[in-house]
Protein backbone atom coordinates (compact mmCIF):
# COMPACT_ATOMS: atom_id res chain seq x y z
CA UNK A 1 0.00 0.00 0.00
CA UNK A 2 2.95 2.29 -0.45
CA UNK A 3 4.17 2.72 3.14
CA UNK A 4 7.91 3.36 3.25
CA UNK A 5 8.46 2.29 6.86
CA UNK A 6 6.05 -0.33 8.20
CA UNK A 7 6.36 -2.38 11.37
CA UNK A 8 4.49 -5.25 12.95
CA UNK A 9 4.40 -5.02 16.74
CA UNK A 10 4.44 -8.79 17.19
CA UNK A 11 4.24 -8.79 21.00
CA UNK A 12 0.81 -7.20 20.66
CA UNK A 13 -1.51 -5.19 22.85
CA UNK A 14 -1.48 -7.73 25.63
CA UNK A 15 2.26 -7.43 26.22
CA UNK A 16 1.88 -3.66 26.39
CA UNK A 17 -0.88 -4.05 28.97
CA UNK A 18 0.71 -6.68 31.19
CA UNK A 19 3.78 -4.49 31.51
CA UNK A 20 1.57 -1.87 33.10
CA UNK A 21 1.81 0.61 30.25
CA UNK A 22 -1.09 3.05 29.85
CA UNK A 23 -4.00 2.26 27.57
CA UNK A 24 -7.06 4.16 26.43
CA UNK A 25 -10.57 2.78 26.16
CA UNK A 26 -13.63 1.65 28.10
CA UNK A 27 -11.97 -1.33 29.78
CA UNK A 28 -11.94 -5.14 29.30
CA UNK A 29 -15.14 -7.06 28.90
CA UNK A 30 -14.04 -9.96 31.06
CA UNK A 31 -12.02 -10.41 34.23
CA UNK A 32 -8.53 -11.79 33.62
CA UNK A 33 -6.12 -13.86 35.68
CA UNK A 34 -3.52 -11.10 35.70
CA UNK A 35 -5.83 -8.77 37.63
CA UNK A 36 -5.20 -10.69 40.85
CA UNK A 37 -1.72 -11.98 40.08
CA UNK A 38 0.79 -10.90 42.70
CA UNK A 39 4.50 -11.19 43.31
CA UNK A 40 3.97 -10.45 47.01
CA UNK A 41 4.78 -13.38 49.23
CA UNK A 42 5.94 -15.53 46.33
CA UNK A 43 9.34 -16.97 46.92
CA UNK A 44 11.74 -17.14 44.02
CA UNK A 45 15.27 -18.35 43.60
CA UNK A 46 17.76 -18.49 40.77
CA UNK A 47 19.73 -21.28 39.20
CA UNK A 48 22.74 -22.10 41.31
CA UNK A 49 20.91 -21.61 44.60
CA UNK A 50 20.94 -24.50 47.03
CA UNK A 51 17.93 -26.39 48.27
CA UNK A 52 18.99 -25.47 51.80
CA UNK A 53 18.85 -21.73 51.09
CA UNK A 54 15.59 -21.98 49.20
CA UNK A 55 14.00 -24.10 51.91
CA UNK A 56 15.03 -21.57 54.54
CA UNK A 57 13.50 -18.75 52.50
CA UNK A 58 10.24 -20.66 52.09
CA UNK A 59 10.16 -21.41 55.81
CA UNK A 60 10.78 -17.80 56.70
CA UNK A 61 8.15 -16.56 54.26
CA UNK A 62 5.62 -19.18 55.23
CA UNK A 63 5.38 -20.36 51.65
CA UNK A 64 4.95 -23.91 50.45
CA UNK A 65 6.62 -23.45 47.09
CA UNK A 66 9.31 -21.43 45.38
CA UNK A 67 9.68 -20.53 41.71
CA UNK A 68 13.04 -21.03 40.02
CA UNK A 69 13.85 -18.23 37.60
CA UNK A 70 16.67 -17.54 35.19
CA UNK A 71 18.36 -14.15 34.97
CA UNK A 72 15.64 -12.88 32.62
CA UNK A 73 12.88 -13.71 35.09
CA UNK A 74 11.70 -16.68 33.04
CA UNK A 75 10.09 -19.42 35.10
CA UNK A 76 12.09 -22.61 34.73
CA UNK A 77 10.71 -24.73 37.53
CA UNK A 78 9.17 -25.01 40.94
CA UNK A 79 10.25 -26.34 44.32
CA UNK A 80 7.72 -27.71 46.76
CA UNK A 81 8.85 -27.38 50.35
CA UNK A 82 7.43 -30.69 51.52
CA UNK A 83 9.29 -32.54 48.77
CA UNK A 84 12.70 -31.24 49.78
CA UNK A 85 15.39 -32.13 52.26
CA UNK A 86 15.79 -28.70 53.94
CA UNK A 87 19.43 -29.34 54.76
CA UNK A 88 20.47 -30.41 51.28
CA UNK A 89 23.29 -28.60 49.48
CA UNK A 90 22.03 -29.83 46.14
CA UNK A 91 21.42 -27.16 43.56
CA UNK A 92 17.80 -26.26 42.95
CA UNK A 93 18.01 -27.12 39.27
CA UNK A 94 18.71 -30.78 40.12
CA UNK A 95 15.54 -31.22 42.15
CA UNK A 96 13.08 -28.70 40.75
CA UNK A 97 9.93 -29.69 38.90
CA UNK A 98 10.46 -28.35 35.43
CA UNK A 99 7.81 -26.70 33.34
CA UNK A 100 5.16 -25.92 35.96
CA UNK A 101 1.68 -25.23 34.67
CA UNK A 102 1.27 -21.57 33.86
CA UNK A 103 -1.43 -19.38 32.37
CA UNK A 104 -1.27 -16.27 30.26
CA UNK A 105 -2.29 -12.94 31.77
CA UNK A 106 -5.44 -12.78 29.66
CA UNK A 107 -6.79 -16.13 30.84
CA UNK A 108 -10.49 -15.55 31.62
CA UNK A 109 -10.84 -15.56 35.39
CA UNK A 110 -14.13 -17.45 35.50
CA UNK A 111 -12.93 -20.38 33.40
CA UNK A 112 -9.65 -20.51 35.31
CA UNK A 113 -11.49 -20.55 38.62
CA UNK A 114 -13.58 -23.53 37.50
CA UNK A 115 -10.48 -25.45 36.44
CA UNK A 116 -8.58 -24.67 39.63
CA UNK A 117 -11.50 -25.68 41.83
CA UNK A 118 -12.03 -28.88 39.88
CA UNK A 119 -8.36 -29.86 40.23
CA UNK A 120 -7.94 -28.54 43.76
CA UNK A 121 -5.21 -26.13 42.71
CA UNK A 122 -4.59 -23.35 45.21
CA UNK A 123 -2.34 -21.13 43.12
CA UNK A 124 -1.14 -20.82 39.55
CA UNK A 125 1.74 -18.97 37.96
CA UNK A 126 0.95 -16.25 35.44
CA UNK A 127 3.61 -15.66 32.80
CA UNK A 128 4.10 -13.61 29.69
CA UNK A 129 4.31 -15.20 26.28
CA UNK A 130 8.06 -15.52 26.81
CA UNK A 131 7.61 -17.26 30.15
CA UNK A 132 8.52 -14.32 32.35
CA UNK A 133 6.85 -14.33 35.74
CA UNK A 134 4.02 -11.83 36.07
CA UNK A 135 2.89 -13.18 39.42
CA UNK A 136 0.89 -15.91 41.11
CA UNK A 137 -2.88 -16.01 41.11
CA UNK A 138 -4.31 -17.59 44.23
CA UNK A 139 -7.65 -19.35 44.36
CA UNK A 140 -9.22 -17.13 46.99
CA UNK A 141 -8.27 -13.95 45.13
CA UNK A 142 -9.62 -15.37 41.89
CA UNK A 143 -12.89 -16.28 43.58
CA UNK A 144 -13.25 -12.74 44.86
CA UNK A 145 -12.51 -11.28 41.43
CA UNK A 146 -15.11 -13.49 39.74
CA UNK A 147 -17.74 -12.61 42.34
CA UNK A 148 -17.04 -8.91 42.01
CA UNK A 149 -17.15 -8.96 38.23
CA UNK A 150 -20.31 -11.04 37.86
Amino acid sequence: MGFTEIYDFVDGKIEWMVHGLPVEGKGPHFAMAVEVATKDGVQTCVLGSTVKDSSAAMEKGGESFCLVLNDEGIVLGRLRKNHLDPDSDELVETVMETGPTTVRPTEPAKALLERMEKRNVSAIVVTTKKGQRMGVTRLEDLRRLVEESS
Partner: protein, 68 residues
Protein backbone atom coordinates in the same frame (compact mmCIF):
# COMPACT_ATOMS: atom_id res chain seq x y z
CA UNK B 1 7.16 -7.25 4.45
CA UNK B 2 6.85 -5.32 7.71
CA UNK B 3 9.73 -5.26 10.14
CA UNK B 4 8.93 -7.11 13.35
CA UNK B 5 9.05 -5.12 16.57
CA UNK B 6 8.99 -6.37 20.12
CA UNK B 7 7.88 -4.25 23.08
CA UNK B 8 11.30 -2.71 23.60
CA UNK B 9 11.56 -1.89 19.92
CA UNK B 10 8.16 -0.22 19.87
CA UNK B 11 8.98 1.90 22.90
CA UNK B 12 12.23 3.01 21.28
CA UNK B 13 10.41 3.90 18.08
CA UNK B 14 7.72 5.81 19.95
CA UNK B 15 10.41 7.84 21.73
CA UNK B 16 11.72 8.93 18.36
CA UNK B 17 8.27 10.36 17.73
CA UNK B 18 5.85 10.74 14.83
CA UNK B 19 4.69 7.13 14.67
CA UNK B 20 1.32 6.09 13.26
CA UNK B 21 -0.12 3.27 15.39
CA UNK B 22 -2.84 1.11 13.88
CA UNK B 23 -4.80 -1.52 15.80
CA UNK B 24 -6.16 -4.09 13.37
CA UNK B 25 -8.57 -5.81 15.77
CA UNK B 26 -12.36 -5.46 15.47
CA UNK B 27 -13.84 -2.16 16.56
CA UNK B 28 -15.35 -3.43 19.82
CA UNK B 29 -11.96 -4.76 20.96
CA UNK B 30 -10.29 -1.47 20.05
CA UNK B 31 -12.90 0.39 22.08
CA UNK B 32 -12.19 -1.69 25.17
CA UNK B 33 -8.53 -0.84 25.26
CA UNK B 34 -5.95 0.33 22.79
CA UNK B 35 -2.49 1.83 22.77
CA UNK B 36 -2.57 5.59 23.35
CA UNK B 37 -2.73 7.52 20.14
CA UNK B 38 -3.59 4.49 17.99
CA UNK B 39 -6.30 4.41 15.37
CA UNK B 40 -8.47 1.44 14.46
CA UNK B 41 -8.51 -0.13 11.04
CA UNK B 42 -9.85 -3.67 11.44
CA UNK B 43 -7.93 -6.12 9.35
CA UNK B 44 -11.02 -7.08 7.37
CA UNK B 45 -11.48 -3.42 6.42
CA UNK B 46 -7.89 -2.74 5.51
CA UNK B 47 -7.56 -1.64 1.92
CA UNK B 48 -6.21 1.25 -0.12
CA UNK B 49 -9.22 3.39 0.79
CA UNK B 50 -9.14 2.82 4.55
CA UNK B 51 -5.47 3.78 4.78
CA UNK B 52 -5.65 6.66 2.34
CA UNK B 53 -5.74 9.20 5.16
CA UNK B 54 -2.44 8.03 6.59
CA UNK B 55 0.94 9.52 5.82
CA UNK B 56 2.82 6.83 3.96
CA UNK B 57 6.15 8.49 4.69
CA UNK B 58 5.73 8.27 8.48
CA UNK B 59 6.79 5.18 10.43
CA UNK B 60 3.66 3.05 10.77
CA UNK B 61 3.13 0.25 13.28
CA UNK B 62 0.33 -2.30 13.09
CA UNK B 63 -0.60 -4.50 16.03
CA UNK B 64 -3.25 -6.85 17.29
CA UNK B 65 -3.82 -8.79 20.51
CA UNK B 66 -0.64 -10.85 20.42
CA UNK B 67 1.09 -13.12 17.98
CA UNK B 68 -0.77 -16.30 18.97
Amino acid sequence: MPTELDLDGLQRLLKEGDVQLIEVLPENEYEEEHLPGSINIPLKSMNADSVSGLDKLRPTVVYCWDDV
